[in-house]
Symmetry: C2
Subunit: 323 residues, 2 copies
């Protein structure tokens, strides 16, 4: 297993922030190749996985330090896509013993439901997110939806008080509940979708579910509701944000990861994590995620420029403005 | 058939507006007695129907002129409830030939679905919304979800250019489509829920459905999404508003009618119908409807004071505020 050391720091277009000291962001998660079937089309060998989506999204805001594992089928051209967005790949492990994590899924009519048709962990099965020394001082950390024990392993390596966003999936709620509950206690911002929130809390009312989740430890909780937006629960209050009005839905895969990546990317670029900053970052997160779903995989996210995100944020601000 | 002429103009608490000339509002719709079964409880002989909910809700904002029909089981105490909110009952017809419109329904777990267990039109079957002379100059008109031909009959009696809000239900989309489409062309603001919008336009994407509805004639369209809020489509742009965060859902019956009543009630109290005014009125509508669902029938709506609505509007403004 080798590290990909040849990091070429490119300077992609980054959305300006009001902070003079942007803080680098650590992103940990899966890297995958996906085959995706939608009601309209299908595509194979899509660069995916939580770490990819999170990193691409966050790269519009801050310097991203990426941790994940790729297999013997992961090529230079794949790495170049990440490098082109200025993503630091020192933490990406290359494991030549097998292929990259593989997922095949099919979305049904109206994207209301998806089925997993095939899943192969491959090199991801033995993945252990050991951080390079240079990553341990990261003051903003995104734990993608990997096994809660691996997420905890990342926390154990951090030098100091980081602002930690954690995401999860229904699989861990069902199979690793205790481990997940231990992790939640230690994170700053827990992000979860509405059906998972109900599964974890047993509460079908989203407002009550959010309050219950906050009582489990995290300072803040965001419940994502897909096309219906997201709600932030914070000590200082709640904030409800509609989704960006998407009319060209092509592939919802990675929308949640893009949301999380852009959210903490924006926070780290401003070096802030207060209530008001999280609210503002949710606008950027919503708009960045809206790009992801307009094409397969990370394609649209990669090709969009910062100006496109900024235009959407302006539109979203208009959409929610009463005056 | 007699008119209930003995209108006693009470002065209930009304929410202040910035207009010196509040305009009276004409409300037309059904008056009913409902039996409602929820997962938690059940109640019989609930004063309901679109006209009742709309009128109670609107009565917090403006002088309401109510048009509907009640049967031989409708008592003085029922009328007194409406009078207590200052509602003008000159347009309410008393038909002693039979009982009031009756509906019995049952809500399922989480209120996701409801079944109609019994429906008896009774005196409503022969109802014809003939307006008292004094109502014909109404510059704000709410057409509750009755048969589109009856809604059109109301429009035909109006003296001049009124701002007309129309609501409908799935029944008319399925059985009276052409008649409904003719009506829609003539209304200023068409209000519909998301599943009905999909049924009427064949478009599952709510943004595209809203645009299609606007192309059918009305200047503005509001699509209601229940707990996920509502979206306004207007020539000048869109506006998305989350729902007021309700944690005590008891009976959703009449939420949509209360929304419509408060919405146009607020507009008529300000004597405005522009984009900005509709957006502002949606906040009041959302908060007023949130009261309705916290008890059976109109109980909570009646008992709440204007200060409770104003507090909720302040909370909702906070909930959607980015700064």
């Amino acid at each position: 297993m080798n590290r990909i050391l040849y990091f070429i720091p490119l300077m992609p277009d980054i959305i300006a922030s009001d902070s003079s000291e942007s803080s680098p962001l650590l992103v940990v998660g899966s890297v995958a190749f996906d085959n995706v079937i939608t009601p309209q089309a299908e595509q194979e060998r899509i660069l995916g996985g939580a770490a990819s989506y999170c990193s691409f999204a966050a790269s519009y805001y801050t310097q991203v330090r990426m941790v994940g594992v790729v297999g013997n089928d992961f090529g230079e051209s794949d790495l170049d896509r990440l490098r082109a967005r200025g993503i630091d790949l020192e933490g990406v492990q290359k494991d030549d013993s097998g292929p990259t994590f593989f997922w095949k899924g099919k979305y049904h009519e109206n994207f209301n439901r998806r089925d997993t048709l095939d899943i192969r962990l491959n090199v991801f099965e033995k993945f252990r997110p050991d951080l390079p020394e240079s990553y341990k001082d990261s003051s903003f950390v995104l734990l993608g939806n990997i096994h809660p024990a691996l997420q905890m392993h990342v926390l154990d390596q951090l030098a100091g008080n980081s602002f930690v966003l954690a995401d999860t999936i229904d699989l861990w709620i069902e199979t690793e509940r205790e481990s997940l509950l231990s992790l939640i206690k230690k994170v700053s911002l827990f992000v979860i979708n509405d059906s998972e929130a109900e599964e974890l809390t047993g509460e079908s009312n989203v407002i009550l579910a959010g309050e219950k989740l906050r009582q489990m430890g995290p300072e803040s909780v965001i419940i994502k509701k897909g096309e219906h937006g997201a709600i932030l629960f914070h000590e200082e209050g709640m904030f409800a944000l509609p989704a960006y009005p998407v009319t060209q839905l092509h592939d919802p895969t990675g929308a949640g990861d893009s949301f999380a990546g852009a959210l903490i990317g924006r926070l780290s670029s401003r070096n802030r994590s207060d209530f008001s900053a999280i609210k503002e970052a949710m606008l950027y997160a919503t708009c960045t995620a809206s790009l992801t779903v307009e094409a397969f995989g990370c394609d649209r996210l990669e090709s969009a420029g910062k100006s496109e995100i900024e235009e959407r944020v302006a539109s979203l601000n208009q959409l929610i403005s009463v005056t």
